[in-house]
């Protein structure tokens, strides 16, 4: 695969994502992996269903990589997000960022996941024992009405 960001229906191989960013200039790789959690606020999840506006989501993921590139010196970022039905402990997202020194790797990886949750067109539907619901606005910090998400918004979050 040539590109550093992708949406897939297949299980994500963590090593594939990390392999995109390992390089001689880097001494640190930070990886964030989002997995399906069984309980949220005491409620049991049976499984999740992820949906994406694939073409736009990949474009936005690539933009996040560019934003990271502009904010931190000498980074390489790769992001894979899965869609379809995911069971408990399945991997939904893998982010890998490599940098020369570790501090930047942590910061950039954190930035990536916050930006994904802010503006990448991917949705999850929770399936519980007693029903299901498309989840929106996980950050619960703001209304999205008539708003265009801007760069760096997460820093106020």
């Amino acid at each position: 695969m040539d590109k550093n960001v992708w949406i897939t229906r297949e299980p994500i191989e963590i090593n594939d994502v990390i392999a995109k960013v390992v390089r001689p200039e880097a001494g640190a790789v930070n990886t964030f992996i989002g997995t399906v959690r069984e309980f949220t606020k005491g409620k049991r999840t049976l499984y999740l269903e992820y949906q994406a506006y694939v073409s736009m989501a990949e474009k936005k993921l690539a933009e996040i990589c560019d934003e990271i590139d502009q904010r931190w010196d000498n980074t390489e970022t790769a992001i894979a997000h899965r869609v379809g039905r995911l069971e408990i402990t399945d991997i939904a997202v893998v982010i890998a960022v490599s940098t020369p020194h570790r501090k930047d790797a942590f910061a950039a990886s954190r930035y990536a996941i916050e930006r994904i949750k802010e503006m990448v067109p991917i949705w999850k539907k929770e399936h519980w024992e007693d029903g299901d619901l498309w989840i929106g606005d996980q950050k619960q910090e703001k209304s999205y009405e008539n708003r265009i998400p801007v760069k760096g918004e997460m820093e106020n979050g």
């Binding site: 994406a52 506006y53 989501a57 949750k117 949705w123 539907k125 929106g136």
Partner: protein
């Protein structure tokens, strides 16, 4: 024609992931008020709008071949 894409709960309410309308020259706001009114999409105003895969505001004027997408609050990650 203008393609209109729906996701998540909006897609379920509309019953389709894509509809096409003759909406050339309309703003997105006008599209919502006219063609989409009959679907009773209660939460459509809390969806962000994308035109041709870029976030846009609802005063954007549509041209033939444009792809409009309504983006409910996202929950990836």
């Amino acid at each position: 024609m203008v393609d209109v894409l729906f996701f998540a709960e909006l897609q379920e309410l509309v019953g389709d992931e894509k509809l096409s309308f003759q909406a050339e020259g309309m703003t997105v706001k006008e599209l919502k008020a006219s063609a989409l009114a009959k679907y009773n999409l209660a939460n459509i105003d809390s969806a962000m709008i994308a035109v041709n895969e870029e976030y846009a505001d609802e005063d954007t004027v549509l041209a033939s071949g444009d792809i409009v997408a309504f983006i409910p609050p996202v929950s990836g990650g």
